[in-house]
């Protein structure tokens, strides 16, 4: 096979995200071969690997769904009567069932639980030696991490779709219809990214499986409870109301709930410049995006450091 596209050895490797050695031609041309050589190929290889691992490991797929499903079923059954009263007292979301109120929160819980798997996957790779093994290959490190993260986001999407479907079966209603449901999934991705970044930071810092699992999983429940996830802000005690304002979960849940109910449900911030649900969606998206960028930036920095050859 003549590989005529290979450029001179002296070409600057750092500048080009794709290989300078003509790796894109390894598939025999036409760019149809996504495997190996190019940035996209490297991305794809890692995307496939992490998806395969997720499917192989029933705990990852089912495990992170079990808890939210239990919450959804038990909360609606046990607290349904009481909670409906509280919701109606809350005003904003009056006249809806607790199923409908709770489902967006459960969807965010799913995305949180799935995001926890990201850091746990990384620390497993470190302990199995796969992290170092990947570093010694010529693959683009950016493509490696993007491929892994994309597989995790795909899992989050699949799980959110499953839980939304289950919620609808149980009697919840998405007031904004199919587009709103897609919006909820998008909100879930936006909401999960900061937690993906956070668990990766914990993984790099501790390099210890147990610490990462504990750090990534234990934080979820307090975060959910001290937010607007399970009850409206008005009926929560004063100190929780204060904490909820600074809790990212509140913004994810409120954003998803606005799409679910088709109305402005945000009570932690008083935004009125927009109309209807946009008074909730805009601040929620802005705040989550800022948080994603901040924690994402830190995670990228930490991952860079962890995969660099400079002595630490």
């Amino acid at each position: 096979m003549s590989d005529g596209t290979r450029t001179s050895r002296s070409s600057d490797e750092g500048r080009d995200p794709t290989r300078t050695d003509g790796g894109t031609a390894t598939g025999g041309g036409a760019g149809a071969d996504l495997s190996g050589g190019s940035f996209l190929g490297d991305f794809w290889v890692n995307f496939v690997r992490w998806n395969r691992k997720a499917v192989r490991n029933p705990f990852v797929v089912v495990g992170s769904l079990v808890q939210p499903i239990i919450f959804l079923v038990l909360f609606t059954q046990v607290f349904g009567q009481v909670a409906t009263g509280a919701i109606n007292r809350g005003g904003a979301a009056a006249g809806i069932s607790y199923e409908t109120f709770l489902l967006p929160a459960i969807a965010m819980q799913v995305s949180l639980a799935a995001a926890a798997g990201s850091g746990i996957g990384l620390v497993n790779d470190m302990e199995e030696g796969m992290f170092e093994k990947v570093l010694v290959t010529p693959m683009s490190r950016t493509a490696v991490f993007l491929g892994k993260t994309a597989a995790e986001l795909l899992r989050i999407v699949v799980q959110m779709v499953l839980i939304l479907g289950l919620g609808v079966v149980l009697g919840a209603e998405v007031a904004t219809g199919f587009l709103g449901a897609v919006g909820i999934v998008c909100m879930g991705i936006l909401f999960s990214l900061w937690y993906v970044a956070f668990t990766n930071i914990v993984a790099v810092l501790t390099r210890d499986q147990e610490s990462t699992i504990i750090g990534a999983n234990l934080l979820q429940f307090p975060l959910l409870f001290v937010s607007t996830a399970f009850l409206p802000l008005e009926v929560l005690p004063g100190w929780i109301q204060t904490v909820a304002r600074f809790n990212p979960v509140t913004y994810g849940v409120d954003g998803a709930r606005a799409l679910m109910l088709g109305e402005d449900v945000m009570t932690v911030l008083d935004v009125t410049q927009f109309t209807g649900i946009w008074n909730t969606l805009v601040p929620a998206v802005v705040i989550l995006l800022a948080l994603d960028l901040l924690l994402g930036g830190i995670a990228v920095y930490m991952l860079n450091r962890a995969s660099s050859s400079d002595v630490q």
């Binding site: 096979m1 003549s2 590989d3 005529g4 290979r6 050895r9 490797e13 290989r19 050695d21 003509g22 790796g23 390894t26 598939g27 025999g28 071969d33 495997s35 190996g36 050589g37 190929g41 490297d42 290889v45 690997r49 395969r52 691992k53 192989r56 490991n57 199995e128 030696g129 796969m130 170092e132 093994k133 990947v134 570093l135 010694v136 290959t137 010529p138 693959m139 050859s309 400079d310 002595v311 630490q312």
Partner: protein, 354 residues
């Protein structure tokens, strides 16, 4: 011909004919906490050689190998691997080396075949070659019949062999093996050895680190003894052994420490060996290192019998790397109880009497 990428053709010779797989000068590595792990290593490994780094735990073997494999940037000196500089051409280096870490590194949730396929894609093996290459490697490491089982179910030896296969998938001209047989039982170890010899015969340069003397002796063309981050001795196993000087006569005697001391005294004072002979008391008797120990051995045995000491056994042998290490460093290499496929000290028995 250099018309194809080393990343994909794997035929070796990516360098401009320098003939050296590794060229290292004054390599230093000091960790941020001030630990000097490597203190100025000079090394040239020619293409095709089976080279060994021999030293105890903490001598700097792994740190050095990681600087060669681009995992750690040296804090001093220069390293060229396959003609490429590890700092400025790291990606080129990665394309042309295989690396097997000290800890077994396989994805436990993937099957053997999927592990090798992942490596094949990571190293950009062209699609047309991939399937054949994977089958060939599965055969080579004898995992063909468990190819579709998840690696998590494998024994330690099988995982190691799988790990080794993934390091070879792009047919790198140079492969680093960092203590590849640590923790394996003798059978698994022998199988890996065979396998390493096979790929070396195919022309692949191998760089091995080990703390097992017998491993270095058995496999390596040339060895450097590394201690405290410095190379203290380099040569072929034969050359190193010759440096110990002479032959070694081990004599076992009946009775306690007294009898052994008496035997040592006789070996020193009776005019049997040359003056520079080295006599030490061992657990079983005495050990004499001297020129022509073979020729004079019987004289010592006669002298011992005359002194009323019962000789229960003796053995005259060429020095092993154990003796080399002792002679160079003044300390013995610690070895695990489940040591290698045999007793290193009895490796070369020439005369044995019961």
């Amino acid at each position: 011909m250099r018309d194809s990428s080393p990343r994909t053709n794997g035929s070796g010779d990516p360098a401009d004919g320098s003939g050296a797989a590794i060229e290292a000068q004054g390599v230093e590595l000091t960790y941020a906490d001030g630990t000097e792990a490597v203190k100025g290593i000079d090394l040239t490994v020619p293409e095709g050689e089976f080279f060994g780094f021999l030293g105890p735990n903490g001598a700097g073997k792994t740190t050095t190998i990681k600087t060669f494999a681009t995992l750690l940037a040296p804090t001093g000196g220069s390293i060229t691997v396959n003609g490429y500089d590890v700092r400025t051409e790291a990606r080129r280096v990665r394309e042309t080396i295989g690396y097997m870490a000290q800890e077994t590194s396989v994805d436990q949730e993937l099957t053997a075949r999927e592990n090798i396929r992942f490596a094949a894609r990571a190293y950009g093996v062209p699609k047309s070659d991939r399937a054949d290459r994977i089958e060939e490697l599965l055969d080579l490491v004898d995992l063909a019949d468990v190819a579709d089982k998840e690696a998590g179910e494998f024994s330690g030896g099988m995982k190691k062999r799988l790990d080794a296969a993934t390091a070879l998938v792009h047919r790198p001209p140079l492969v680093f093996l960092d203590e590849p047989t640590t923790g394996l039982d003798p059978k698994a170890r022998n199988r890996l050895w065979e396998y390493f010899e096979r790929i070396n015969e195919r022309g692949t340069t191998l760089f091995l680190t080990t703390q097992y003397l017998e491993e270095a002796d058995q496999l390596c063309d040339r060895i450097s003894v590394i201690l405290d981050g410095e190379i203290v001795e380099t040569g072929s196993p034969m050359e190193l052994k010759r440096r110990v000087g002479g032959e070694i006569l081990d004599v076992e005697v009946d009775g306690g420490a007294n009898e052994r001391d008496r035997a040592a005294e006789i070996a020193r004072t009776e005019d049997v060996f040359d003056a520079d002979a080295d006599v030490t008391v061992t657990d079983e008797g005495v050990s004499v290192t001297a020129e022509r120990a073979r020729a004079h051995g019987t004289d010592l045995l006669v002298a011992l019998r005359d002194a009323g000491i019962t000789v229960t056994g003796f053995n005259i042998r060429a020095p092993t790397l154990d003796d080399v290490f002792l002679a160079i460093t003044g300390e013995e290499l610690e070895e695990t109880p489940a040591d290698i496929g045999g007793d290193a000290t009895a490796a070369d028995p020439e005369v044995t009497v019961e």
